[in-house]
């Protein structure tokens, strides 16, 4: 039957095809059920004469003029995006339909690896997270379970490692930051494919802040001991240390940055003054100057 009207043809096609779900096999062509992304495949047609073969999906479209009754071959790389594809063989007024899936290639080629944060304090339990998705050479997400090895290693600390299998192509893990400051290498590996992120581990809050005082003419010279966190890491220069002097109901405050690990300040030498030191929310020791 030939129909010259586009709308009539469209209506007929719609009516006959609308409720039919695409199947893997059809009368006029023999389709593979699945094709591995990027691999060669072929479609066998039956009948005689010329036709047009459409391979249509959200990931790719192909159109081939074919000779019915012959095998149409697709070279490696022709169809490389994973997804669900319709195959339509159009011969004048008749069409044959089918469908098949392109599945990701088996071999991983790329990892997307997001490690967070890039900078954090030492000694944080589960402070570092890593999320990985595994892709083939055509940027298809490999959905088959794939073991991913994570390793976090620093200069002076033992490496942490674990292996987790992907679910639906992605996987995540969490690691502790080391007790010692410094850069750590966070590596995600699948087979011989690996990706590295650098995590900067910085000292935590100061721990055991202590200062000493000595007279200097009409002033008191105040100086902290080297400021360190609880793991013994030097707190970075520039961290603000606050000295506070209370005397006779009035308060004097001096903020100074750490230089070479210590903070120094001069304050008026009032006999009986109470002097304290703090940085952030961490309080240090207290000194009462002069008479007790």
């Amino acid at each position: 039957m030939k129909c010259s009207s586009r709308s009539l043809l469209g209506g007929l096609v719609f009516a006959t095809m609308h409720l039919a779900l695409a199947s893997a096999q059809s009368g006029g062509m023999s389709l593979p059920k699945t094709v591995e992304a990027g691999s060669a495949f072929s479609i066998q047609t039956t009948g005689s004469g010329k036709a047009v073969l459409y391979i249509v999906g959200l990931g790719q479209v192909l159109r081939r003029d074919v000779q019915l009754g012959e095998t149409t071959s697709f070279a490696a790389g022709d169809l490389h995006n994973a997804g669900h594809y319709l195959a339509v063989l159009a011969n004048g007024s008749s069409t044959e339909n089918g469908a098949f899936d392109v599945v990701p290639a088996k071999n991983p080629a790329n990892l997307s690896f997001l490690a967070k944060p890039s900078r954090l304090s030492v000694s944080l339990h589960d402070g570092i997270s890593g999320a990985v998705c595994v892709f083939d050479a055509y940027q298809n997400l490999i959905t088959a379970p794939t073991p991913v090895s994570f390793e976090l290693s620093g200069v002076s600390t033992a490496a942490q490692s674990r292996t987790v299998s992907t679910r639906n192509g992605c996987v995540w893990t969490e690691m502790d930051s080391a007790a010692k400051e410094g850069a750590a290498q966070f590596v995600a590996r699948v087979g011989n494919i690996s990706t590295t992120r650098v995590i900067q581990q910085v000292p935590g809050d100061p721990c055991g802040l202590r200062m000493s005082a000595r007279p200097s003419g009409q002033k008191i010279e105040l100086e902290t001991e080297p400021v360190r966190d609880c793991g013994g890491n030097a707190v970075p220069d520039g961290t603000i240390v606050t000295f506070t002097e209370l005397y006779d109901g009035s308060q004097t405050t001096v903020d100074v940055p750490l230089k070479r690990g210590v903070a120094r300040a001069e304050m008026p030498a009032y006999s009986g003054a109470k002097i304290s030191v703090a940085t952030g929310v961490v309080m240090g020791n207290e000194i009462r100057w002069g008479k007790q």
Binding site: A20, L21, G83, A131
Partner: protein, 165 residues
């Protein structure tokens, strides 16, 4: 039984506000892999933006206009769809996609909150046109794996991949 009813009520309550006008949308209870809790507002936003992405891709493939993808797609998903549109245009083809139903489940929320993965068992119609002549219309049932990432004001689709059911 009470638990079952509660789950079903949740499912249908989530269904209608989203896309009552067009495709039927069913949202399965989330089964999230990952340490980050998924709040309801995030889930709603992700599903809303994903469904809007279907409308964008439908318009883009029908009109062969890759710029219509800009709002909703990013990364590999956008690159691949753009290639498809360019190939369609080169071959004189266009395609009309009309999503009919979605059965959605969020399965992964990354620890840092920068990617969310859902599975969509979707049913849609595809009409294939060659130089404006309709070649066929097919109803397709497929399973999609989708990864979305947050942009300035919405979630964008980064991975959009069909797979065997």
């Amino acid at each position: 039984m009470t638990k079952f009813l509660l789950v079903m009520c949740t499912v249908f309550a989530a269904t209608f506000p989203l896309r009552a006008d067009q495709s039927a949308v069913r949202v399965e209870p989330t089964n999230v892999q990952g340490p980050r809790p998924l709040v309801k507002q995030t889930e709603t936003a992700v599903i809303r933006d994903y469904l809007q992405a279907w409308q964008s891709v439908s318009a883009a493939l029908e009109q062969n206009r890759a710029d219509l993808l800009d709002r909703d797609f990013v990364g590999a998903a956008k690159d691949k769809l753009t290639d498809t549109i360019q190939e369609q245009a080169r071959l004189g083809l266009s395609t009309r996609y009309q999503d009919r139903s979605h059965d959605l489940q969020i399965v992964y929320y990354s620890p840092e909150g920068l990617s969310i993965q859902l599975i969509d068992n979707v049913e849609y119609d595809v009409e294939i046109l060659d130089h404006d002549k309709i070649q066929t219309t097919q109803r397709v049932r497929a399973r999609y794996i989708v990864v979305l990432t947050p942009a300035e004001v919405r979630w964008r689709v980064r991975i959009f991949q069909g797979q065997p059911e």
